[in-house]
Symmetry: C2
Subunit: 321 residues, 2 copies
């Protein structure tokens, strides 16, 4: 949750002067989104979401992210639609920072996904993959497998500070993941952060997905692995096989996995847990003082890593359903 950039009424009026949306009638900073500053904007014509992109999002990546959102919306996937100004520009600036207006999405995120929610998550993730097929822009996964060992190099003492001996365990994990990381799986645009807080439901049904700011081109099954970690663990740290089966079955109802993809799910899930463990470990010590961000606990993902390490085929039970 974050509002890093403070926008005045005058700055907002200056931005809106470029659009045909009427004057602002309400404007509120939202405690949502870790990477950017987000505002709920109401004008005489409707409701919108204003995102001001902060340092962590590379400006060069914004055409990919905003283009993808536009593409998905045009291809029937419910996500926020970027609003072009009078000159057709989507990427705007405020206070020297890039920003964009997108359509407002209704819906609520679920805190504790049920089995039915997990199925919806799988169905919608496959729908996202299918809708994104053909999107012409590309972006490498800069938090992919090859990035993890270099990233961990500067975090070893942080890991041992979190839990004595953890650095050596992670080093062994990284070597194992490097040796077993699959290649040649079907690839395409992945969300790469398909967590319950990036998905809205209405009346128990998937209604929209958002926060595409980690999207990139990678193995499609990696996205399923990220989602298995994010949706199918219980608060006590145990992996819920029933939820996992529902998520994979939901996914396969739209896009069946190949044999190679199914076989790769355990190592992909182990790697996906590593990716979130590493960024949380990094953020744990590095959150700027004035940021109004509560960093997420890296230990949650350390426990998920342990589950994948000790039961390397566990997620296959999900796939086997």
């Amino acid at each position: 949750m974050a509002v890093y950039t403070d926008i005045t009424d005058d700055e907002l009026a200056t931005l809106l002067a470029d659009f045909d949306l009427g004057a602002a009638t309400s404007f509120k900073g939202i405690a949502e989104g870790v990477e950017n500053s987000n505002f709920l904007l109401e004008t005489e014509t409707g409701r919108y979401f204003l995102t001001v992109y902060e340092k962590r999002v590379r400006e060069a990546d914004l055409p990919f992210f905003l283009g993808l959102m536009q593409w998905l919306e045009q291809h029937g996937f419910p996500s926020a639609r970027p609003i072009p100004d009078r000159n057709g520009e989507i990427l705007k600036r405020m206070r020297g920072k890039p920003c964009a207006l997108v359509s407002f999405l209704t819906g609520l995120s679920v805190r504790r996904p049920s089995v039915a929610h997990c199925r919806e998550a799988g169905v919608s993730l496959a729908a996202l993959h299918l809708a994104a097929a053909g999107f012409p822009l590309g972006r490498e996964n800069d938090l992919g497998q090859t990035a993890w060992a270099p990233m961990f190099a500067s975090l070893k003492s942080a890991a041992d500070g979190l839990k004595p001996g953890l650095a050596a365990t992670i080093d062994a994990d990284l070597a194992d993941l490097a040796a077993r990381w699959p290649t040649g799986l079907p690839s395409g645009v992945v969300h790469a952060d398909y967590f319950p807080d990036n998905v809205f439901f209405q009346a128990g049904k998937f209604s929209a997905a958002f926060d595409f700011y980690f999207a990139c081109v990678d193995a499609l099954a990696y996205d399923v692995a990220v989602a298995l970690n994010a949706w199918c663990f219980e608060p006590d740290g145990s992996f819920n096989i029933t939820s996992a089966r529902a998520l994979v079955a939901g996914y396969e109802s739209q896009r069946p996995l190949s044999q190679a993809e199914r076989a790769a799910l355990p190592v992909l899930a182990h790697g996906a847990a590593m990716r979130f463990f590493l960024t949380r470990l990094h953020d744990w010590g590095a959150t700027p003082a004035g940021a109004l961000v509560r960093p997420k606990d890296p230990l949650e993902y350390e426990r998920k890593l342990a589950v994948h390490r000790s039961s390397p085929d566990l997620v296959l039970f999900g796939a086997a359903g």
Copy 2:
């Protein structure tokens, strides 16, 4: 700006089950309000604001605050209306904390009030005082003049840390204020925190006031003094006489000040600057780590204190207009 309490979709559904507002369709934590956690809630029937009251608000005071909001709304002053549940209850609980739903207000706060905004601020503040007349509940001003010296007793080293020698200056101010503090002025319900960020405008006109969580019974002219400090200083620290005249003239267009009230404005403004200096000084060092609050700079009010100290009749130029 704050969201101290994290509300899940399940907890929200439990709360809404007591109301006739339909199911939630959108729910967002708002970076607004320093004292409480605030959420924008949309249901099938409309938009509402949910406030969860945190430690700093005494639960025993909530009937006064919520009753006042209800009274003001019923007496024609535009402010948020508390929403009763099916049993007529306004004060509810979530996570063991008191909370309340109020109607959603549209409008924007101004960051840099113009002279015209200051006039509107004065008009609306007098309208608030007139609408509140007759409200049957009372609440002492626990941040009033008699509270300042005891409060400062534990903040002397913080003051000297902010600016060497400041503690002695504040001690002298406090003695001076105690000696000159007026009694017997017309009293009634005051907002006590009538700052630009607690007032909404639409198309340049006052549209609503909110955040009544410092409201109490005190000298009505003290509220004018708080507003003069909050609305009529320039970013460079100078007092804008034109804005002050507009604010006082606006106020007097609805409720003329007595001679005693006019004469008391300078010392009331000096005291009002002391009250905000002291609470900001306190908060500067005392903000809890996970609070997502950016404390307000006490030096802004230290500079206002210095203006009132060196030009004790300055605000009279506002009143003289």
